[in-house]
Symmetry: C2
Subunit: 491 residues, 2 copies
Amino acid sequence: MFKDIGVAEIDTVLKKSHEAFLLFKRVSGVKKAAFLEAIALEIETLGIELIQQAMQETNLPEVRLAGERARTCNQLRQFSALLKEGSWVDARVDTAIPDRIPLPKPDIRKMLVPLGPVVVFGASNFPFAYSTAGVDTASALAAGCPVVLKAHPAHPETSELVARAIAKAITSTGMPVDTFQHVHSSTFESGKALVQHPLTKAVGFTGSFSGGKALYDYATQRPDPIPVFSEMGSINPVFILPKALKVRGDKVAEMYAVSITQSVGQFCTNPGIMLGVQSTDLDKFSHELGATMEKIAPGTMLHPGIAAAFKKNRERALSQKGVSVIAESTEKPKENQGVTTLSTVKASDFLNNEILSEEIFGPYSILVTASSQEELIAAANKLPGQLTVTIIGEDDELLQYAEFIQLLAEKAGRVIINGVPTGVEVCPSMHHGGPFPATTDSRFTSVGTDAIKRFVRPVSFQNFPDALLPEELKAGNPLGIWRFVNSEMKK
Amino acid sequence: MFKDIGVAEIDTVLKKSHEAFLLFKRVSGVKKAAFLEAIALEIETLGIELIQQAMQETNLPEVRLAGERARTCNQLRQFSALLKEGSWVDARVDTAIPDRIPLPKPDIRKMLVPLGPVVVFGASNFPFAYSTAGVDTASALAAGCPVVLKAHPAHPETSELVARAIAKAITSTGMPVDTFQHVHSSTFESGKALVQHPLTKAVGFTGSFSGGKALYDYATQRPDPIPVFSEMGSINPVFILPKALKVRGDKVAEMYAVSITQSVGQFCTNPGIMLGVQSTDLDKFSHELGATMEKIAPGTMLHPGIAAAFKKNRERALSQKGVSVIAESTEKPKENQGVTTLSTVKASDFLNNEILSEEIFGPYSILVTASSQEELIAAANKLPGQLTVTIIGEDDELLQYAEFIQLLAEKAGRVIINGVPTGVEVCPSMHHGGPFPATTDSRFTSVGTDAIKRFVRPVSFQNFPDALLPEELKAGNPLGIWRFVNSEMKK
């Protein structure tokens, strides 16, 4: 057991973070890049010890954790590459026109600078990729912001191991010692105190709606509000069009049985709802999906709290008017296990029941059957903001549904055609975000290199002598980055 | 007098705005560009009638209003140029790698899309540039968001004229009729109802701290919070370094007498505070500045409310411990006029009195004299977030103050060397924003083409057939825009 941080200690931690910021913000991109690479290497050096610790604390299998560790180190290296390339600062240069009429035009240059200390809350379902050295930490450090990481109480030892790896990287690359601080807490009071400390400048969170919304409220109620990036999950609707059902309903069922149940359904992009117009093909699909899912044995969930919430939310959903079970694991669940479940409801009942649009975190999905295309569109309109929305359709029918796909794009941060929402690619074009309640800020992503944009703000430098300008903005472009110079993109 | 919009009517207005959004968001950049240009032309076509109306309602002189109109039309044309060029959507393309091990990489493409209906509150001090067809409206329309504009009650007739110009442009360029709607209100209730309507997706505001913060609170207290961009002004500190004072204190005094008093000091970038280390050169500067300022006659302010607030805030500041008047207009003020005022206070008193860091909107500035460089730095540290901070110094002494300039950059959105903060250049490198309380979101600008970024969010399109992709993301890059393709910037 690790000692909970007290509210008094939080003040010391944030003061140290602020002191570190004053030094860290001036570390060059190349040196920050070396730091991130060193973190990745130190994590890999922990070897099987780290994986075994995480297996013990999360019940996730070795192969999944090894993959997640690779993803985490890949993320760190992607941010490193971004920093070495350097153009991410969005440099803009407008040179002076001293003889402009009626007034001279001054020289103005702009770039992104770090916000200051960032508080990151580790997530339970990704002990590596969204936790201690996960994307929030990696992107904040890349931006030049020190991080105060609150370990997730479900995997504190795993978090300690990763924190020590980061500490080693701080030492070996000569970063300010408090560039990263690791704290433990399981009380609301300390979470609130971390968010409301005057020196905290931004917050990153991945988890439940209630947790993410609480942090948002703490931050917006400060005398000086700060941004909070809470990614709170969603039900990730999947629309299955008639012709695809007819042509390859069996393959879609196979693909979705996996997507709904992998890692015991504990992904924020889990497909929690599927929708289609009723037909014999949809019946067949439902039967096939159910037949595959019932063979998938219950799995042990991340921690007893999540298992209990799944049980409660599943039971609540199944007790709603018109909801019936199509299939569930034939094997009985043991303690803390989640029962694989496929349920169904008519769109007319779905439309009148907001509970059925709420996330059930675990291996659960509901099939909504519409009596007509109009009802399907009505159901789509009813959906709250989502991380993802997916359409399964044959090429020619997709074109017929172009308007519908436009509508769906209003609801989500990512629109997928003929795929599954699980498996979030880490790349510059990934947007992992979406309208509320999927996140508290649809304008920013928590996956991919653009995640760095959450922790920066622009500053304009007017009429600066070249010697005082940051390297990124100097006349000779010494870093050789892409810049928007007098309205022209150039290197 | 125009009829106040009732809360019931607001529902109709936002529903119409949402309907317009569904069409307007799909209008091409080139067509939106033509629309913005048509607005500029219609405003110019109003000719002297518009200027005279604004003179009557704002007490601003003809030359100033003619300049502001030119700026407003220039802004609209800059956004038009941005749309025609097209690269602002920040397109990213990562093409598929089907044979990647262990998992195939899907094709993912991302771009910025509009948020939805935007409510804009017109500002009193810029009847054109920050009002009806001002930068909030121009940037929201450019983004593809319909606008509901609440006219500022101090210049409703001017606002009506501009609104009619926009309506003409809507007709002539075939935009959805409710792309722009114009409403009048002077109650808190209707302002709140506009911000809290479920179909409102973002808010733009320029004005007082109390007004801007209230709108922010309304928005963050919604069941689904939305972004609010309140620009709430600041005191725009000016640091005058010793050598510059010695070499050209007289010229600096001349420049600042103008900056403090132009348009009766009614600019959010007005230099409300100047700071320096005590010396005979600073005394001489203070004397020269005062001597110039007392010759500047009181001017009639924008409206009686602003004049009354200036009188009250000025008197409150002058009654603070250690504050004394250096100079004020020798001519006595008439009704609703603001008295040009220069006051002074020792840094030791300034450091203990937060009231002296509050904005006094009008022709007022306070000179803070520090006993040492350390005290000057302490005063700088004490300052809240600012739109701008300015340093006046000779080239060699600026280099000595490099650390200090770094510190100042933490406090502001724009750092100016050897200039005045008034006169905000409209260009891509302008950041008109700053840490709270200057704005509610330091990450976004309300001047310059980047203002468009306030009203958009990214959406990723995964595995889309080319025919269903937006033009900006299609394989052949039919719009010829800059895109970040497989981590390489290219056209």
